[in-house]
Symmetry: C2
Subunit: 359 residues, 2 copies
């Protein structure tokens, strides 16, 4: 005989299937004595529930879904993802909920996976990352009516999935304020993929701050988050006759790549170039010099996302959007006031530049 079923237990205990089901699920309908007997028999026979059978009846899948529409390599390279995964797992595993993970080509495929998993009762809810400017996934999720947590920007107040986000705008402002305070007037920003909402927010914040502070230059360069583009863009920026005195990188992978390029080109960090990473991970701490970075606690973010999603699934939770604490800038050794003899002094008098319009 294969795995025991509740029918087997019922036979052995001399009761009906229904009684066994009641007993095993701790619901009324059987006496305590019978319940104890049934539990003992179930234990003896080493019974385990068959999730598929339960799911047929519409029960929990005890799993949540995460679909990522980026190249598979990304997970390995981007600390943000692995940290997020870590945080998610920390909470999920405590609740014995598994993570159903899949990497797909593009948003279209991602939506297809949502539909499949939803209709197959594979998961109890979804975690959505990389919120886009006009995101086609949101309406699909609403249509599917499954619990979901979206990582990103405040929603329009109305319905739709729960949102969790950090204030990217404030964060960028704090970086620019800091750099301006120590004397920087030409700041570059290596941004991420332009159709992501958080990229847009950061670009806009930099532009606004630049206007407000009257910076000479503040330019955002979109990239694909890869170390390759980060390095290439850095090289281009540093080759310009009047190069920026500070560069803000949207990911630590790019920041570290940028640091490497500066080293190769003989540009001293922080003497001739200050570097700030928008993301803090081991990476930022262990390079030399250690990078000034925005300490977003991505692990904690993952934990919070998992907690919120489980709360929605259980219908116990505060079904409302949540803003994470604004990340704080951790100043390390990759930033300093620009050198007195730096190219900033050369040539014409500084003029107020409203920032080249990106994207």
């Amino acid at each position: 005989m294969g795995r025991p079923t509740i029918a087997d237990i019922a036979r052995r205990a001399g009761v009906s299937k229904g009684a066994v089901s009641f007993a095993l699920n701790g619901r009324p309908g059987v006496s305590e004595a019978t319940r104890a007997r049934i539990l003992r028999v179930a234990d003896e026979m080493n019974w385990r529930p068959h999730s598929a059978a339960r799911a047929l009846g519409g029960a929990r899948a005890d799993a949540v879904g995460l679909v990522i529409a980026r190249p598979a390599r990304t997970i390995g390279v981007e600390p943000f993802f692995s940290q997020l995964l870590s945080g998610l797992q920390a909470v999920l595993s405590a609740h014995s909920v598994a993570l159903h993970l899949m990497v797909v080509e593009d948003t279209t495929a991602e939506i297809e996976v949502y539909r499949n998993w939803a209709s197959e009762h594979r998961v109890d809810g979804f975690i959505v990352v990389d919120l886009q400017v006009r995101d086609p996934r949101l309406e699909v999720l609403e249509e599917l009516a499954l619990p979901a947590v979206v990582l990103g920007g405040p929603g329009r107040g109305g319905g739709g999935p729960l949102r969790i986000w950090a204030d990217d705008r404030e964060a960028m402002l704090s970086i620019v304020d800091y750099l301006a305070a120590i004397g920087h007037r030409r700041i570059a920003h290596l941004a991420g993929l332009p159709h992501f909402q958080h990229t847009q927010r950061r670009i806009r914040a930099l532009r606004d701050a630049s206007r407000r502070l009257g910076l000479e230059e503040a330019v955002s360069v979109p990239t694909d988050f890869s170390d390759a583009e980060g390095a290439a863009a850095t090289r281009t920026l540093l080759s310009r006759p009047r190069r920026p005195t500070a560069i803000v990188y949207d990911s630590d992978v790019m920041a570290v790549a940028g640091l490497g390029v500066a080293g190769e080109m003989g540009v001293a960090v922080p003497g001739e170039l200050s570097i700030v990473s928008f993301d803090d991970s081991v990476l930022a701490r262990i390079v030399h010099p250690p990078l000034t970075a925005l300490s977003r606690d991505t692990f904690a973010l993952g934990e919070q996302v998992a907690r919120s999603l489980l709360a929605v699934v259980d219908e116990t939770g505060p079904g409302r959007d949540l803003q994470m604490p604004t990340p704080r800038l951790t100043v390390r050794e990759s930033t300093s006031p620009p050198a007195a003899g730096s190219p900033v002094r050369a040539g014409v008098a500084p003029t107020v530049d409203s920032g080249s319009e990106p994207v």
Copy 2:
């Protein structure tokens, strides 16, 4: 009405449930005309299979399981895991197979999860990592009789799950040979957790190589793979009066941490200390100086593991163990011959030391 079922399709198409099932699964039993009609109706109604219902009948789950018994933080910190995950996903997603992921406390919990997922038909197979010296998981997997791929050491030839491994011994030998060839006589090894098989293999290989080459010293220090212990152990080693001229790190996280410590302590790399990492990732390439590292293609390993597992699941595959290409040493700038004036010359004449017995 909720999601359409095959009963709905049957009603609309004017056939029986059975006919619909035959048509949708491409099996004989219906005429081509009827099949086309049924498929059209199914498409119109936007039908999708309900995996739970299929699983009840014993069909595929279209998911494979990976359970990791390490602190959740590990996934975020250790590039090995995220790279492995990437590789797995690359192949799995191409086959529309999801990854069922869970992080647990210890091996006991891990085994419990295996039993649960197996009996619940949640997954079609397992991926097992961190093979231990006497691994209790192996017999459980055999008992469960589900396809599995174990990442590590060659098996005993007999039954048991499929094995995939790289030759850790050869790899370590190549590192030691290289270091000895450029003149190093005192080598330290920051090893991983001692109950892992690969840790044992590397320790033994170092000891054997040391004897063969007649090195002055070759010591393995077990750690927990964390950057903290990597840094601490490095500090201890470098504080000794006769410090090693080269350190081999079992993970790149530790290697980078060690590099940081050397910097703090004013020990020049590679001038006074050569550093080799047993693991090559972005990390090793982007620090300064870039680390000489063993180029294990972990992404490719993940791909191969996924391919093999799917092959076993489909019963199409070469059900045999597989050895990955032995990783090659990539020499970068963190290694050089030991300085002429290094402490190696001081004091007594070099003696042959068989290596302090570790573990």
